[in-house]
Amino acid sequence: MEVLYFAWVRERIGIPKERVESSAATVNDLIAELKAREPRYEAAFADLSALRVALNQELSEFDAPLAGVREVAFFPPMTGG
């Protein structure tokens, strides 16, 4: 699946998006896999209360299943307007 990062999440991880091969069942499982990779992921996902997730461009929850999801995006709370 495609994983996208925005704002300071993008800056901490160092890339705006990447292709991830994963059999993670939920967003939480995917995050655990990413954190195990490298310290920059560990840093980006240290505090989940400061993060939001979108699945296929819809805001979602960290315990949501990833079945059928092509695009996952992680970002801080939005500050539009």
């Binding site: 996208l4 925005f6 704002a7 300071w8 993008r10 979108a54 461009q57 819809e58 805001l59 995006a73 970002f75 801080p76 709370p77 939005m78 500050t79 539009g80 307007g81």
Partner: protein, 150 residues
């Protein structure tokens, strides 16, 4: 309904007039009240510019859903949302919304609803560029709380 997510500057006056002209036409003769909101880059604390990042694709979807919900809730004559991204300097207009309705109460409420949801539910992130460097703007609890009234 018109929704535009764009890097280019826009002319708020021209947008207001185009929106008003649409409402003044025969088909929309039921419109008696138009409320607009525009947001400007404030020159707080020596802030010189702002960089707005967004999530292409999701941004348009999220705004469309917010605008459609407002239209269902208040039976609006018309709705307009324009939001810029990219680099903006102090005094520039970041975004505007407009809502047209039969009476003023609906137009005011719909414009406030659009703003409250754009603030916290449309995927934009602001970074302030000041004399001390760059800082991501933190989301405010007050903005999240503002959603509870709807």
């Amino acid at each position: 309904m018109r929704i535009s997510v764009q890097a280019e500057a826009f002319d708020p006056g021209a947008e207001v007039n185009a929106f008003t002209a649409t409402c003044a036409e025969a088909a929309a003769a039921n419109v008696g009240a138009i409320v607009t909101f525009s947001g400007l880059v404030r020159a707080d604390d020596g802030m010189q510019a702002m960089e707005i990042e967004h999530y292409p694709g999701m941004t348009e979807r999220a705004i469309t859903e917010i605008a459609e919900t407002a239209q269902r809730r208040w039976s609006l004559g018309d709705v307009l949302v324009i939001h810029r991204h990219g680099r903006l300097t102090a005094g520039e207009v970041i975004m505007m919304v407009a809502a047209a309705a039969r009476h003023r109460k609906d137009a005011f409420e719909a414009a406030e609803y659009l703003m409250d949801y754009l603030k916290s539910r449309a995927p934009f992130w602001k970074k302030e560029l000041g004399p001390e460097g760059a800082d991501w703007v933190a989301a405010k609890d007050a903005d999240e709380d503002a959603l509870k009234r709807w």
